[in-house]
């Protein structure tokens, strides 16, 4: 009798645990990163407090086809942004090798786009970026490789919360972080993953799928 009770109790606990865990996975949403501010709005005559999240501001960069790409190109789109340069000998090959895996998965979908910023504003002109994109295996315009002035590129890197700097002592002359930054349809940062780490890239793929489910 006692045994039966134990079995029932543990069965109940197991079911309860299953219920909790499945509830969590059903309602999982990604966090929103960056500074946030409270704003007061008047709705139906009442003052309410809303949260203003950090968003990627307006930008305008030249891509590998010498076409200007702006924030408008990414309106209502999920995209992954990163920072690299074509002759980078350190983390970039691994980072872009990993981003290429995600690109191959989504390149025919109009849900996910890719935006790589070159931090070598001197050398990486559009024709250099074009050749790099082709050789990497990028076959359509869902992945833009862009260049801009030093101030604009390094300024937007700060907005993505990615560290970039010109540094004579760094391999290739530039120092930067290898984050793949996940941006939602409202241009808010929803995740940042180390593009040189296989586990982190797998996490990006998993969380990207969650973000795409969001309305």
């Amino acid at each position: 009798m006692v045994n039966l009770f134990h079995i029932r109790a543990s069965l109940f606990l197991a079911l309860a645990a299953l219920g909790i865990s499945s509830c969590q996975s059903n309602t999982a949403t990604l966090p929103i990163y960056g500074q946030r501010e409270p704003v007061e709005k008047i709705v139906d005559g009442k003052t309410i407090t809303d949260t203003l999240y950090h968003t990627i501001p307006a930008f305008k960069f030249l891509n590998q086809d010498s076409i200007y790409i702006t924030d408008k190109n990414y309106d209502n789109k999920v995209y992954i942004a990163n920072f690299f340069f074509t002759h980078c000998p350190s983390i970039c090959p691994t980072m872009n090798r990993n981003l290429l895996k995600v690109y191959e998965q989504y390149k025919d979908s109009d849900q996910v786009y890719f935006l790589s910023h070159s931090i070598d504003f001197k050398y990486d002109q559009p024709h250099v970026l074009k050749e790099y994109a082709h050789k990497l295996g990028v076959s359509n315009d869902h992945w833009n490789f862009v260049t801009g002035s030093k101030a604009d590129i390094y300024g937007i890197a700060n907005q993505y919360l990615v560290y970039t700097a010109e540094d004579k002592n760094a391999p290739g002359g530039y120092d930067h972080q290898g984050y793949l930054v996940l941006i939602d349809k409202q241009k808010r940062i929803r995740g940042a993953y180390d593009g040189t780490n296989d586990e982190q890239v797998a996490k990006l793929q998993k969380e990207l799928a969650i973000l795409l489910e969001e309305k």
Partner: protein
């Protein structure tokens, strides 16, 4: 008495393991070079050429083309030491990306890493000895 018994067991374990692995002294040395070479590969080569020597698109050539590795065996040490800036054909594809020099790698490091590359990715069994690497480096263009 116990000591002798213990020693006897150790000696028989040694002979048994030597027999079971069936490795000659040269094979063991090749395996040692390859193990050391793997560490160097991960730090200096993996970023571009990939964990399994698969390369990346048309940017970085694979290191799995046995034909290329065999035909260019005498040049490989120089390529690692001094880098490469010329068009090459590997596995039927043309590559022309500048490979940086690796001045910090010593002669023995090059022997280690080339043994790792050619025996793991190139499916060869011949060691790159220190002497071979040093001889090849003298003849660098």
């Amino acid at each position: 008495m116990t000591k002798i018994f213990f020693l006897g067991i150790l000696v028989s374990i040694y002979f048994l393991s030597a027999m079971s692995s069936c490795q000659s002294g040269e094979d063991i040395k090749t395996a040692q070079y390859a193990v050391n070479g793997q560490k160097i590969y991960i730090n200096h080569c993996k970023n571009c050429h990939g964990e399994k020597g698969e390369g990346l698109g048309l940017l970085y050539p694979p290191l799995t083309d046995v034909d290329f590795l065999t035909k260019n065996r005498e040049r490989l040490s120089c390529i690692i030491r001094n880098g490469l800036n010329e068009e090459i054909t590997v596995a039927g594809k043309t590559f022309h990306t500048i490979m940086p020099a690796n001045e910090t790698l010593t002669d023995i490091d090059i022997a280690y890493v080339l043994t790792y590359i050619t025996t793991n990715f190139g499916k060869q069994d011949k060691i790159f000895s220190l002497e071979e690497v040093q001889q090849d480096l003298i003849n660098c263009k």
